[in-house]
Every structure is written in structure tokens, then in C-alpha cells.
């Protein structure tokens, strides 16, 4: 090698290095500039104002706690007790929580020396430590109180409405009614509602104790009351999860069954007609490109909301995806096996069955099982749009913005469901085609 050659080589190497170095700086710079653009395009500075931290606090505290309402109707003087203020959580006639006492004067002990007293004639006394006794009289639609002019920030008061928030609970007073909310940790009534005879009984007592309900066996009765729990609707939730898994299963399997014969038409090896091949591929591209969202919207018009619509949306989209993957797998099969089968005098169909299918089955099964898991997630999302399964229940629970403990319950169930399907499809893959990793 001459010196000239070497210097040329060096020059080339230098240029290459320079270009690489430039690229090394340019890519992060471009990404940074893009993120800067996004910062303003997504209006991140304005997000702080739009974000509702109160919502976040409600969500965080409500998802693991519940409240019991003690409500006095100021027109009739009637006092009712209900978990979450819902009719299905109402204490049956003649019963009430044990932190409420008194007949003429109803004393509500919120704990921590916070005491609310419902006095006759719509008067209310609120006793909070380190604060003067609050007295409120409801008259018609307005309130008379002894609250001072300058109020601490945990009290809001107007002529029509007084709200008091303490760490032990919340009190709201209006002319029409007086309400006390007492907060407790945990998901109340998760097992049994208040009207069930099994409410408040321990597991041991139900399983091994004396018969609680004379008409039913303890175990069967408890199971039935839990299953038909009106507050948590375990039966509906189980159905919804079943629907979601059903959508994923039917959609994936149906797509695989449809895609397999079509994939033969799209593979160069097996489909000599160029036109047919191209047409099949365009169909695959089309159904994939339209995407599950649009299919869901279109199919919901024909079939109405429900799991079938979701199933068909998954089925149609995945037929395209499977078709593409399967036809690629078919193009990569080994010709030798087919020739071997052919040499025994096999007809075309037998050649496919014994020469081709055994080669592609592992690839196909792996893909199908992978999609089964991923479609469980898709089915949750599609269910929220088309109205079926656990996705719908979650959307409804979030949109009513009331029962965050139910939202938390659904989220936990969804995560468990997806993880179960992940594990299940991995297990099945291990059983069927041997474990790869």
C-alpha cells in the first residue's frame, strides 16, 4: 500500500467518523426538538390548570374506603342510614350503625371526639374539638347558624348550604336535609349486603357454625347471597369478564380459521395466479388498515351493541393480520418435505396436509396464542366502545364518577384477567409446541 492510498483511506475513515459523530448528535437533537414541539402542541403548561387535583384526591381516597350516610329529611324528620347513600346499601328498618345512638336526640359519633347531634325541630349541633359548638337551625329553605364571620377553610357556609369537612367525616346541611358522611377503610358490603342474614358473620361462622338462615344451608345460602350481591354485582362482573374473554377467543379463533385458507391464496408458492395473489393480499391490507375501531363502529350499526359485535370486529381485523403472517410463514416452508410427500403419490390436498401444515403449525399456533392474549386487552377496549364486557362496566363506573371502589375492583380484575390469559397462552404454547425460552 502506498502512502497516497493510506491517506485516502484515512480521509475516508475520517469522513465516516465525522458523519457518525454528527448523526450521534443529530438524532438526540431532533428528538429533543420534537419533544419541545410536543410540549407546546399538547399544551403541557396549560395542563396544570386543567388538572383537577381534587379529583385525584377523591379517586385515591375513595378507591379503598367507603362512607356511610346518615341523612335527616328535614320535612318529615325521618333519619335514614345508607352505605354510600345508595338504596341497595340502606340499613333495614329498625337497624342502624353502632356509632349512632339516641331516640329523641340522635347522636352521631364520628370518632376523634367529633360528634353531631340531630335535635328535634330540625336543629343540629356539631361538636368539633378546638372549635366552638356549631348550632344550625333549618327553616324552610334557609339555614340559621351561629357560625362566626371569618370561617376556617374547612367550613363553607352560605344562607342555603353549609359544608364542613373534618378528618373524621363530612357534614352538609341544607334546608331540605342534613347529611353526615362517616368514612371507613375497606370495600363495604363486598361479601354481603345488609339485607342478607350472613352480613357481619365471619367465614368460620358461616362454614362451620350453626345454620343462620333456616331455609338454606349456610354454604349454599352464603354463596347465593354473595353471587347476587346488589351492591357489587358479582354475577354481572363475572359475566362481563366471560364476555370479554369470549370476544377475544372467538375473534382470534375465527380469524385463524378464516385466514388459513386465504393465506394459501396469498402465498407465492401455492397460488400461481398473480392476480389472485395480489387481490388476496390487498384484502388483507384493507381489513387490517380499516382497523378494529372503524370495524367496531360499522358493525355496531348492523348488529347493535354487545359481545358479538366486538367478536366480529376482532375477527375481521385479525383475519388480515393472520393472513399476512400465515402467508409469510407458508412462503418460508421447506420444499423438500413437500417433495417427499409427493414422491409417495400424494394428491395436492394430501401434500398440503402432510407436507406443509406440519411445518407451519408451530409458527401459526405461537401467533394465535400470542394474539389470544393481546386480544383480551383489545376486547376490553372494544367492549368500552361497542358496549359489552368488563370494558363497558369500567367505562360506566368511571363516567358516573361515584363508586371509585368499584372502579378499583374492575381494574384489579382486568389486570388479573389479562395476566391470567398471558399465563394461559404461554402454558398452552409450552404444551403444544414445546417451550422455546
Amino acid at each position: 500500500m502506498t502512502t497516497a492510498d493510506l491517506s485516502l483511506e484515512k480521509h475516508n475513515a475520517d469522513t465516516l467518523f465525522r458523519r457518525k459523530r454528527l448523526l450521534g448528535f443529530a438524532i438526540p437533537a431532533v428528538i429533543l426538538v420534537y419533544l419541545g414541539y410536543i410540549f407546546f402542541a399538547f399544551d403541557l403548561p396549560g395542563l396544570a390548570q386543567r388538572a383537577n387535583l381534587q379529583n385525584a384526591v377523591t379517586l385515591a381516597s375513595d378507591s379503598w374506603s367507603h362512607k356511610v350516610h346518615v341523612t335527616r329529611n328535614n320535612r318529615t324528620g325521618e333519619v335514614s342510614y345508607a352505605v354510600e347513600g345508595e338504596r341497595k346499601g340502606t340499613y333495614p328498618e329498625g337497624t342502624r350503625p353502632d356509632w349512632v345512638s339516641g331516640e329523641e336526640v340522635i347522636t352521631i359519633d364520628l370518632g376523634g371526639d367529633h360528634i353531631v347531634r340531630y335535635l328535634p325541630e330540625n336543629r343540629t349541633e356539631i361538636d368539633i374539638p378546638d372549635f366552638p359548638l356549631i348550632e344550625v337551625q333549618a327553616e324552610g329553605r334557609s339555614l340559621l347558624s351561629n357560625l362566626p364571620e371569618d370561617l376556617p377553610e374547612w367550613i363553607s357556609a352560605s344562607e342555603r348550604r353549609i359544608g364542613i369537612t373534618t378528618p373524621e367525616g363530612r357534614i352538609t346541611l341544607t334546608g331540605a336535609r342534613t347529611e353526615v358522611f362517616n368514612y371507613f377503610p375497606g370495600w363495604e358490603l363486598f361479601w354481603f349486603t345488609l339485607d342478607s342474614p350472613y352480613h357481619g358473620k365471619g367465614f368460620g361462622e358461616i362454614l362451620f357454625g350453626e345454620r343462620i338462615d333456616p331455609e338454606r344451608g349456610n354454604f349454599a345460602g352464603a354463596l347465593q347471597d354473595w353471587w347476587t350481591n346488589k351492591m357489587w354485582r358479582h354475577q354481572d362482573v363475572a359475566w362481563a369478564i366471560g364476555e370479554t374473554i369470549l370476544m377475544a377467543f372467538l375473534g382470534t379463533m375465527g380469524a385463524a380459521i378464516l385466514a388459513l385458507p386465504l393465506a394459501f391464496l396469498a402465498a407465492k408458492r401455492f397460488s400461481p395466479l398473480m392476480l389472485l395473489r395480489a387481490a388476496t393480499r390487498r384484502i388483507f391490507d384493507f381489513v387490517r388498515g380499516v382497523d378494529a375501531l372503524i370495524w367496531t363502529v360499522v358493525l355496531a350499526r348492523a348488529f347493535g351493541p354487545g359481545p358479538l359485535t366486538g367478536t366480529l370486529a376482532i375477527l375481521i381485523t385479525d383475519t388480515g393480520t393472520f393472513g399476512k403472517i400465515f402467508s409469510e410463514a407458508l412462503e418460508n416452508v421447506d420444499q423438500k418435505q413437500i417433495e417427499g410427500v409427493e414422491s409417495t403419490g400424494a394428491k395436492p390436498l394430501q401434500r398440503y396436509r402432510f407436507g406443509v401444515i406440519p411445518q407451519v403449525v408451530p409458527v401459526l399456533l405461537a401467533q394465535i396464542l400470542y394474539f389470544l392474549e393481546s386480544n383480551t386487552r383489545s376486547a376490553t377496549i372494544i367492549g368500552a366502545i361497542t358496549g359489552g364486557g368488563i370494558g363497558l362496566m369500567l367505562t360506566q363506573a368511571i363516567q358516573t364518577q361515584k363508586d371509585w371502589e368499584e372502579v378499583a375492583y374492575y381494574i384489579v380484575l382486568i389486570i388479573l384477567m389479562v395476566m391470567f390469559m398471558d399465563w394461559f397462552s404461554g402454558w398452552l404454547r409450552g404444551k403444544l409446541i414445546g417451550r422455546k425460552d
Binding site: 402542541a41 377467543f249 372467538l250 391490507d285 372503524i294 359481545p307
Partner: protein, 291 residues
């Protein structure tokens, strides 16, 4: 011949044949049973789904073309407006793509770190590998819609909740795929770097990343494709972008089908375009690796 040795090595041809036939029959029986179970599951599943649907399958089947036909005919009647509508919805499309792009970027970065921390031989804290694996499993298992809906409640509607939701899922999904690639990385450069006293991040950046980069980029591109679809769907539940516009256009019903048609066209075109683009680059990346 494995059959023979398995079947207790019968010596004569008839014995071999009969044991082979028995085996074949057993396999056929199992295969048939599996198929039967699958068919029963599918048929009964279909019936359940059909029962619980608002409209039945057979009644709906002939209506399947009605809605597309309505949309197409109306869009055709107003075809002069279509370019204008497409221009009108183009910003929404850009938002949808931006959501997908940013969430892929952030998710890929987080997935990269997660994968390196959860790969045997590379992890900074080998004892915490199971922890990081479970962590990415959970991130992967949470459907985007769950996080998106909760964040919409807290942060208000718009692209940010969707972005965060998709990024979390992407980080989990890519974390797993990346870690599978990283497991096959050659450890010699890492050891060489370690011998010069390089820190963990230097070893990863200079020793591992150059080896795995083509695969990582290829997976990230595939994920970008998936995320465009996800971001369109999340828009439908209120996270902004094209999906949100589609829901509004759908809610207006007949008379505004041309708007729905414009959105359909945009969405379809975008998905196909990015599919082609990403598969082109992915092919190039994986081919380059083979050489």
C-alpha cells in the same frame, strides 16, 4: 424409527405395524377430541355472544353493508366538500400521530432501561431482576383504556392522558421484547469495557446498545404502528385526536356522514401509510443485520 424403540421393540414386521397403527390411532383420537372441544367451544361461545348481543347475527348480517353504503353514498353526493373536510380534520390526525410517536419514544426509552435492568448478565442489580420483570409484566397487562380513563378524570380530556397510557403499555411490551434480544447479546464487549473501568451506563451504552440497536429500532417501529391504532381508539373514549372527532361525527348521524367518511379516509390512509413505511424500514434493518 423412534416409534419402534418406544413400543418395547417388537421384532417382527406385524408387531411393528400394529404398534405403529395403535399409536397413529391414539394420536388421531387425541387430535379429533381437541378439534371437537374447540368446535363445541366455538359454537356454544358464538351462541352465547349472539344471545347477549342487542341485535342477532343472522338479522344483522344483511344489514352489514347498510351503514357503509349510506356513508359512501352521502360522501359521494357531497364529494366536492371532501377535500375541505379532510383538511379540517388534518390537525386531529396530526394529534393522533403525535400521541403515538411521543408515547413510542417515551415507552421505548423506559422499555430500554427496564429491559437492561431485567436481563441476566446485564442487570445493574441482579437480585432485582424478578422485581423489574414483574413490573414490566404489570405495565404490559394494564389495557391502555384503564389508565386513559382514570387520567382523563384527573387531568381532563386531551392528548396527555392517552399519551401516558400508551407509553406505559409500550414500556411494558417493549421491555419484554427488548430483554429477549438483550439476552442474546455478546457479553465480550461488556467485559472489555468493564476491564477499562467503565461504569454500568457506559457499558450498556457502548457495549450492548450497538449490538441490539437494529432489533430495538425494528421493534419500536412495529410498536409505533400498533400505537397509531391505539391512539385512534383512545380518542374515541375522549382522549382527543381523530378518534374523538369520529365519535362526534358519529353522534351527529345522517346528514353528517360526509364528515365520518373524511375521518375514515384519513384514518385508513394513515394506518396503511405507516404500516408500509415501518415494514419497509424494518425489512431494511433486519436485512442489514443478516449481512
Amino acid at each position: 424409527m423412534a416409534d419402534v424403540s418406544l413400543g418395547g421393540a417388537p421384532q417382527n414386521v406385524a408387531g411393528i405395524q400394529s404398534s405403529y397403527m395403535a399409536q397413529v390411532q391414539r394420536r388421531r383420537l387425541y387430535g379429533g377430541l381437541t378439534l371437537l372441544i374447540l368446535v363445541v367451544l366455538m359454537v356454544s361461545g358464538f351462541n352465547v355472544a349472539d344471545d347477549r348481543n342487542a341485535g342477532g347475527f343472522w338479522e344483522g348480517l344483511h344489514q352489514i353493508g347498510d351503514y357503509p353504503a349510506d356513508v359512501v353514498s352521502e360522501a359521494w353526493a357531497k364529494r366536492a366538500d371532501l377535500p375541505g373536510l379532510i383538511a379540517k380534520y388534518f390537525p386531529a390526525l396530526v394529534e393522533t400521530i403525535n400521541i403515538a410517536a411521543v408515547s413510542t419514544l417515551i415507552g421505548a426509552l423506559a422499555g430500554l432501561i427496564l429491559s437492561l435492568l431485567s436481563t441476566r448478565g446485564l442487570a445493574k442489580w441482579p437480585r432485582l431482576i424478578p422485581l423489574f420483570r414483574r413490573f414490566s409484566d404489570i405495565m404490559r397487562a394494564v389495557p391502555e383504556i384503564v389508565i386513559a380513563l382514570v387520567l382523563i378524570f384527573v387531568l381532563g380530556g386531551g392528548p396527555v392522558p392517552a399519551m401516558i397510557a400508551i407509553a406505559i403499555h409500550t414500556a411494558g411490551a417493549l421491555g419484554k421484547l427488548f430483554s429477549e434480544v438483550a439476552e442474546n447479546a455478546d457479553l465480550k464487549p461488556v467485559e472489555g469495557l468493564a476491564s477499562t473501568g467503565a461504569t454500568w451506563s457506559q457499558r450498556m451504552l457502548l457495549g450492548v446498545l450497538p449490538q441490539v440497536a437494529p432489533n430495538y429500532v425494528s421493534y419500536a417501529l412495529l410498536r409505533f404502528e400498533i400505537n397509531i391504532r391505539a391512539s385512534a381508539i383512545l380518542g374515541f373514549v375522549g382522549a382527543g385526536g381523530l378518534g374523538y372527532e369520529l365519535r362526534n361525527a358519529m353522534a351527529w348521524g345522517p346528514g353528517r356522514f360526509d364528515e365520518a367518511a373524511a375521518i375514515f379516509i384519513l384514518l385508513f390512509g394513515t394506518i396503511v401509510f405507516f404500516d408500509q413505511l415501518s415494514s419497509h424500514y424494518r425489512n431494511r434493518l433486519t436485512e442489514g443485520q443478516a449481512q
